[in-house]
Amino acid sequence: MSVLVGKQTKLLVQGITGSEGTFHTSQMIEYGTPVVAGVTPGKGGMLYGGKGDIMFKSAVPLFNSVSEAVKKTGANTSVIFVPPPYAADAILEAISAKIKVIICITEGIPIRDMIPVKHALDNSTSILIGPNCPGVITPDEAKIGIMPGFIHKKGNIGVVSRSGTLTYEAVKQLTDLGLGQSTCIGIGGDPIIGTQHIDAIKYFNDDPNTHAIVMIGEIGGSAEEEAAAYIAKYVKKPVIAFIAGRTAPPGRRMGHAGAIISGGKGTAEEKIKALREAGIFVVETPAKIGQTVLDALKSGSSTPKRKQGRPPKSESAVAKTVAPVATGEAPKRRQGRPPKKLWLL
C-alpha cells in the first residue's frame, strides 16, 4: 500500500521531449516507474527513446494531447516538465482529461496563471501536487519527479514537505536509521499549490501502511497551522514535524515564492507553537529529524510526553484553553478540540 502513486500508476509525461523531461524520464524508467506515454504537441505518433547521450531503456509512445494519450494507454497519472509560460495550460489540459494525479515539477509559474488552475482543480476530481516541487515517490514502486531514488527505502513512514533538498535530507536521515518510507510527497514552495500539508496528512492517515508521518514545513502562509489543527482532531498516528526558517528575516522571500514572513504572519515561532499544541513531536534541529522519528516510535506514544509536550510559560494562556480536555481521561492526544486562535487565519 502507498498513497497517490505506486504499482497501479500508469505515468504520462507532459513535456517529455524537452531536456528536463528527457533526463528525468530516463531516470524514472531506470527506477522502474511504468511510463506509458509522453505528450508533446506536434510530435504525436512518434516513439521517443531519448536524445543526445540520454537513451531510455524502452521507448515511449508520443501523443499530441493528454486526452488522446489517456484514451490509447489508460494513463492515470501525469508529470509535467513544461516551461513556466505554458505550464498552467498543461495542468488544465490534464485536469480536463480527468487525470487522477497530476504532478507539476515546473518552477516559476505566474500567480495570475495559477489562480484559474486552482479554481478548475477545486471543481474536478483531479489531485495536483506542486507546482515547483520535487514530485512523489513510493520506494521500490514508482518514482515520479526529480528526487534521487537511491536514498529512499521501502517502509512505513509517510513524508510530506514543501521543500526539495530538505526532503532528501530528511529521507536520508530516516533511511540511515533503518526507517523506510511508505510514500514521500513534495508539495512545493509556491504561494498557490494543489495539495497542501493537510491533504497529504489525510492521505497518510487513511493509509494502513503508513505508521508515522513526517511533516517538513517552512516559514510563510498558514498551511502548517491548518494541518496541526486537523492532526489534533483526527490523526492517531505519531506526527513528527520540522519548520525551516527560524532565522529568516521578515519581508524577504527565502528562495521559494511562498517562503516569506509578511505583516508579522507566517513566522517559525507561530508555527512551532501550533504544532506543539496539537501534540506533534517538534524537531528542534534539522540534524535530528530521523532521530526524533526513531525516539517517537520507541516511546510507543502518538504524542510527546507531558514534559516535552507542555508548552513553555509564555504560551500558557492558550494551554489553559486545552488543559481541561487533556486532564479528563488523560488521553494521549488532546482530542476533539483543536487549539483555538492559531488556525483561524
Partner: protein, 412 residues
C-alpha cells in the same frame, strides 16, 4: 520585484486611477526650478516633497547625514522622508529640503539602522483632504484568490489595524470564474460610509485599480492613504506596487523599472549568475542547494552558536563555475568568519560541486575555517577529491557532524 512610488503612479495613470500632478527629480537645483515653473507659477501654493526609496514608513523616517549619521534639521525641525512645503517661497524651500535629502540616508522603521541613500525626490501638488482610507489588493493564499481590502483607517500602519480592530478591514475576494463584480465594489464603498459623488468615484477607482493589478501581474498594490478630497474626488496619495517575479517574462519593460541602487550590491551581483543570495548580519557564511535546506542550514548555524551571514541557494544546476562565483560572493561579506557548505546531491553531482569549491579556493584567498558537507549523488568521490586537493577543509560526515564542527569553530 519592488518599484518606486513615482513609477507606480505612472502605471496607475494608464489605468485611469487618479493621482496628483507630480514630477520626479534627481538634483536639488532642478527640484527648485521645476517647483517654480510647474507648480508655484501655476498658482499651486502647497507641495509635498517625498524621498523615493523602496521601503515604507517614510513619513516618520528621519534623514541622516551620510558621513556623520547625524539627523538633519531644517527650519528647526527634523527633515523627514515626506515633507509638506507651504506658506510661500515654496520653490526655494523645495530646493533647500532637496539639498538635505538627496545623497543622504533616510532611516525608517523598514530600512533598518543603515537606512537607504536617497537619489530621487518626488514633488507633488498638495490637496485638501476630507478623509483618508486604505485600499489594497493581494493574493489570499488560503483561498487561492485575489482579495481586495479597504479600511476607514487610512494613513496608518495597516498591520496595527488588522491586529487591534480587524473588523475595520473590509474584504472582497475576486472569483476566478466571474471576475470582480460591481456589487462587490458597491459593498466596499458603502462599507466605507461613502455616498453621492464620493461613492461613485470610489467605485470607479476600485474597478480601475483591480484592472491595473491583474493586467500588470502584481503581487501587491497598496494605496495608503487613499484620500477623499474636499471636492469629492478619490485620489491615490501614495502607492506601493510589487510585481510577481514569476511573471517578469511577460513584461520585459519592467527591467527598466528596476532600481539596483535600492538592492544590496552583493545580491545584484549574485542575481547575474542566477544565484539566490540574501545578505544577513551574521558571521557564518553558508552555501546550500535548495531553498528549504538553505533555511534549515541557517537554523542549524544559529543552534550551533553562530549566526548566519547569508541565505545562499545555488539551485539545481550547480556547475563548478557557479559554485566558484557563489563562493566569491559569499566571501566578499567582511563579517564572515567561517563558512559552511552544505550540498545534498540529487540532480547535482557532489563531485562537480567539489570541483567548484577547489577551483574557488585556488583563486580566492581564504583564511578562515571552511566546513564542507556533501551528501547524495557521488558524495564519496567528492570527499576523496577534497582530501586530495591539498587544501584544508573540515569535512563533515553528516548534517549533525556539520553542526558540531560549526560549534567547535565558534568556540575558538
Amino acid at each position: 520585484m519592488k518599484i518606486h512610488e513615482y513609477q507606480a503612479k505612472e502605471l496607475l495613470k494608464r489605468y485611469k486611477v487618479p493621482v496628483l500632478k507630480n514630477r520626479v527629480i534627481f538634483n536639488a537645483f532642478d527640484a527648485g526650478k521645476i517647483t517654480y515653473d510647474e507648480f508655484e507659477s501655476q498658482g499651486i501654493g502647497t507641495v509635498v516633497l517625498k524621498a523615493q526609496i523602496h521601503a515604507g514608513g517614510r513619513g516618520k523616517g528621519t534623514v541622516k547625514n551620510i558621513e556623520t549619521g547625524q539627523p538633519i534639521y531644517l527650519f528647526d525641525s527634523p527633515v523627514r522622508g515626506v515633507n509638506i512645503i507651504r506658506n510661500g517661497n515654496i520653490s526655494d524651500k523645495v530646493y533647500q529640503y532637496s539639498r538635505e535629502i538627496l545623497g543622504n540616508r533616510l532611516v525608517t522603521i523598514q530600512t533598518g539602522d543603515e537606512g537607504s541613500v536617497v537619489s530621487k525626490v518626488l514633488v507633488e501638488e498638495g490637496v485638501a483632504i476630507d478623509r483618508e482610507f486604505y485600499a489594497s489588493i493581494t493574493l489570499d493564499r488560503t483561498t487561492g484568490k485575489n482579495v481586495i481590502m479597504v479600511s476607514t483607517e487610512g494613513g496608518v500602519e495597516i498591520e496595527k489595524v488588522a491586529e487591534e480592530t480587524p473588523e475595520k478591514i473590509l474584504k472582497e475576494h475576486i472569483d476566478p470564474a466571474t471576475g470582480f463584480q460591481q456589487f462587490q465594489a458597491r459593498s466596499l464603498g458603502f462599507g466605507l460610509g461613502l455616498a453621492g459623488e464620493a461613492f461613485n468615484n470610489f467605485v470607479k477607482f476600485i474597478n480601475n485599480l483591480v484592472e491595473a493589478y491583474e493586467d500588470l501581474d502584481c503581487s501587491l498594490v497598496e494605496i495608503n492613504p487613499l484620500v477623499l478630497t474636499n471636492e469629492g474626488k478619490m485620489i491615490a496619495l501614495d502607492c506601493k506596487m510589487t510585481f510577481d517575479e514569476n511573471a517578469l517574462f511577460r513584461h520585459p519593460e519592467y527591467m527598466e523599472l528596476r532600481d539596483i541602487t535600492e538592492e544590496d550590491p552583493l545580491e545584484v551581483e549574485a542575481s547575474k549568475y542566477n544565484l539566490n543570495y540574501i545578505k544577513l548580519d551574521g558571521n557564518v557564511g553558508c552555501m546550500v542547494n535548495g531553498a528549504g535546506l538553505a533555511m534549515a542550514t541557517m537554523d542549524l548555524i544559529q543552534l550551533s552558536g553562530g549566526k548566519p551571514a547569508n541565505f545562499l541557494d545555488v539551485g539545481g544546476g550547480a556547475n563548478p563555475e557557479r559554485i566558484a562565483n557563489a563562493f566569491r560572493i559569499m566571501m566578499s561579506d567582511k563579517n564572515v568568519k567561517a563558512v559552511l557548505i552544505n550540498i545534498f546531491g540529487g540532480i547535482v553531482r557532489c563531485d562537480r560541486v567539489a570541483q567548484g569549491i577547489i577551483q574557488a579556493l585556488n583563486t580566492v584567498h581564504v583564511n578562515m575555517p571552511v566546513i564542507v558537507r556533501l551528501d547524495g549523488t557521488n558524495a564519496e568521490e567528492a570527499k576523496l577529491m577534497l582530501s586530495k586537493s591539498g587544501l584544508s577543509f573540515k569535512v563533515a560526515e553528516n548534517f549533525e557532524h556539520a553542526a558540531q564542527l560549526v560549534n567547535d569553530v565558534m568556540k575558538n
